[in-house]
């Protein structure tokens, strides 16, 4: 007698499930348990219920970190999408030295975040950075990022855009290349201007890819850590701290594992809410234009 399909496939799928179970599900459950306990090194965990969540959600430092994260995510991700879209259209319109320029655009994705931050710190050094000195020589305003929190946030935003632009660009560019040329030809015959062709043909057909890029970038950007930590360490006076730095400080500087675990779960929930909202958008609007 032949086994049902699921039963036959189960042994083949089991290794993947075991892997997911061991590296994602079980650690996640452990973090849930940690978040419901108060514990530190040398201190036995004691159950405190939701107290850690209440403590984190009531902490003004967490509010400030969350606000900084939201501002950075909203501004950087949308700016990155706009630049990525513009570059994808530019490349699709036919550029000279396209292959070379493609390599140049994709290069930041091959640079490690730590290296990138060190490079940017050097370039934008407030006293001796080549970019700072060049801007000064041209009588242009410089980024006073080591003193002004708003300038520091701007630099973190620019750095994260530079680092992750290739991701957004590749997705949008691939989607743009998939749009048949006949559609533009038909639009031109119908008398559409370039702007109308962009609005009525390009944008609707790129929408699903753009939403996917946004969804992933929102989730990635919400975890933003290295750029802010290595550039400013969250300073001056915690004014550029993001949620991931808040979590790091709780876990590895203060060794307060309960609040750190609670922060991690709050981050997951916010990311899921963001993802949920975009998936809903995708289903309602985005996919309608996908074919």
């Amino acid at each position: 007698m032949q086994l049902p399909t699921t039963a036959r496939l189960l042994p083949l799928l089991a290794p993947v499930h075991l892997l997911i179970l061991s590296v994602i599900v079980l650690p996640s459950l452990y973090v849930v348990w940690l978040s419901l306990n108060m514990s530190s090194f040398g201190q036995a965990p004691s159950f405190v219920g939701l107290q850690n969540y209440v403590r984190v959600l009531a902490d003004p430092a967490f509010h400030r970190a969350l606000l900084n994260t939201v501002v950075l995510v909203v501004v950087a991700v949308h700016l990155e999408l706009a630049v990525g879209l513009g570059m994808a259209l530019l490349f699709a319109s036919g550029l000279p030295f396209r292959r070379f320029l493609l390599v140049a655009v994709l290069a930041p994705y091959a640079v490690s975040e730590v290296t990138a931050v060190v490079m940017w710190r050097f370039l934008f050094d407030p006293d001796a950075g080549p970019i700072t000195l060049a801007l000064r020589a041209l009588n242009l305003p410089t980024l006073d990022w080591s003193f002004e929190p708003s300038h520091a946030m701007t630099l973190i935003g620019l750095l994260t855009i530079w680092l992750h632009l290739p991701f957004t660009f590749v997705i949008v560019y691939a989607a743009r290349l998939a749009i048949p040329a006949e559609l533009y030809e038909a639009a031109r015959i119908d008398g559409a201007t370039r702007w109308q062709a962009f609005r009525r043909v390009t944008l609707p057909l790129l929408a699903p890819a753009m939403l996917i890029a946004l969804l992933f970038r929102y989730i990635f950007a919400f975890r933003l850590f290295s750029e802010a930590w290595l550039l400013t360490k969250g300073g001056p006076a915690r004014s550029t701290e993001v949620v991931a730095i808040y979590l790091y400080q709780e876990a590895f500087s203060f060794n307060a594992f309960g609040p750190a675990a609670a922060t991690a779960w709050i981050m997951v929930v916010i990311s899921l809410l963001l993802a949920g909202a975009y998936v809903l958008l995708l289903r309602r609007g985005g996919l309608a234009h996908a074919h």
């Binding site: 040398g42 300073g235 500087s253 060794n255």
Partner: protein
């Protein structure tokens, strides 16, 4: 007849080979563990023990037929990893290097009490090890670490830049230091813009030193929070005044400890506060533009306390501890005993380590090699940690630094910042 190449890889040989390699790999640490002492430390602890012919432990290694495997980290990640290892059921690390402001009662319980070891197989002339440092490693009446290194803070200055500014001698009071820092905030003859003083903003050491210069403190040894409010206000006001006058860099808020070294080496700053042991690095001709010109003195107290109260500079001490869950504690103690010996302590001191033995400073060889040894010994006599260990010390330090930064950058009046330090840190203090 078909000829198969002899080297053809079949599925069977591939699977067998993979399993064999995995088995050999998994057996590797077991084979290595028998003759290896794993040590968790900072890179500097490994470096000062020397290497090759200059390895201070080569005879001990030979006699014990042991290899030492150092795993090194920067200070904070090192402490985190050490406590994590010590919290496990068992750890492969026999010795961990511990900073003196970390062991609270809970943390201390993760490490082996060392008195029984000392009783059974004593360290050479244990009384010679600075009693204050031994006291710092005694928690709840139990000795949990043997002091091995201290980093006592001194005031470093660039003699050449001071001369350029028309200053003939380093400061003897804090007021003089502030005036000299202002005078040396200029463009040097080499064309380099010089900032009077450079300090990292993410370490409590510096504001604590400024508060102590007026007879105050952040948290005293008997756990009094800001025991002298006026002194703390004066200390922060001095820092604020220096920032306002341009004697501290505008990038103060993002300046790190390593920046202090490079700024002084490059002649971008005239003064800084660093451990005396940094003297060799600051004057290293391969790194410094001013070899032999960067000198150090005791950080001066204010005129108000001069001759009345001894200036208590900040000292950070390291000790060697044995995790309670370590496998081979006898071997770990043997290592600690050897590293603590007079011979190795002197050897490490010559290699740039802050010696924990009083007698080491009397050695002529050390005096000849290290010009700062005498002043370091004098400062050490009255130095103490930045703050004593307590469970919320790291959070208290972060809160303190946040308020200090706000005050120094001028985003909060000094008085308000001190009030906020007291109000916010109070709930974190031990009962």
């Amino acid at each position: 007849m078909s000829k198969k190449p002899e080297t053809k890889l079949t599925r069977r040989t591939f699977v067998a080979g993979t399993i064999g390699a995995a088995a050999a790999f998994s057996a590797r640490p077991v084979l290595a563990a028998g003759k290896t002492l794993n040590v968790l430390s900072h890179k500097v602890h490994q470096t000062v023990l020397g290497s090759g012919d200059g390895d201070l432990l080569k005879d001990w290694l030979k006699a014990k037929d042991v290899e030492i495997a150092f795993t090194t980290f920067d200070s904070n990640p090192l402490q985190d990893r050490l406590f994590r290892e010590a919290s496990l059921k068992e750890t492969e690390y026999g010795v961990g290097y511990l900073i003196d402001n970390r062991p609270t009662s809970q943390i201390a319980a993760l490490f082996e009490p060392l008195e029984p070891y000392q009783k059974q197989d004593p360290i050479e002339d244990f009384a010679d090890i600075a009693p204050g440092l031994v006291q710092g490693m005694t928690v709840d009446g139990k000795l949990i670490g043997i002091p091995v290194r201290h980093a006592t803070q001194g005031l470093f200055y660039n003699e050449a830049l001071l001369e350029e500014a028309g200053i003939s001698a380093p400061p003897t009071t804090l007021e003089e230091l502030i005036a000299q820092a202002k005078k040396t905030s200029f463009t040097s003859k080499a064309g380099t813009p010089v900032t009077g003083m450079v300090l990292a903003s993410d370490l409590a050491v510096f504001p604590v030193m400024f508060a102590r210069a007026y007879g105050g403190d952040f948290v005293s040894s008997d756990f009094k929070l800001v025991p002298n409010r006026e002194a703390m206000e004066s200390g922060l006001a001095a820092l604020r005044g220096m920032f306002e006058a341009g004697s501290l860099p505008r990038s103060y808020a993002t300046t790190k400890n390593d920046d202090q070294v490079t700024w002084l080496q490059q002649g971008r700053a005239a003064f800084t506060i660093l451990p005396f042991a940094r003297g060799a690095q600051l004057n290293n001709p391969e790194q410094s533009k001013y070899p032999g010109k960067i000198k150090a003195v005791e950080f001066p107290g204010s005129a108000a306390i001069k001759g009345k109260v001894a200036m208590a500079s900040v000292v950070e001490a390291w000790a060697m501890a044995i995790p309670r869950n370590a496998r081979d504690k006898a071997l770990a103690w043997s290592f600690i005993k050897e590293v603590s010996s007079k011979r190795v302590t002197l050897g490490m001191a010559i290699n740039g380590n802050g010696p924990v033995r009083v007698s080491t400073y009397a050695d002529a060889g050390l005096k000849a090699k290290n010009a700062l040894a005498a002043v370091e010994a004098k400062v050490l006599a009255t130095a103490r940690g930045a703050f004593p260990p307590f469970p919320e010390a790291a959070r208290a330090q972060a809160t303190f630094l946040e308020e200090v930064q706000l005050a120094v950058l001028g985003r909060k009046p000094v008085k308000d910042a001190v009030s906020a330090i007291i109000e916010r840190v109070k709930p974190m203090m031990p009962a």
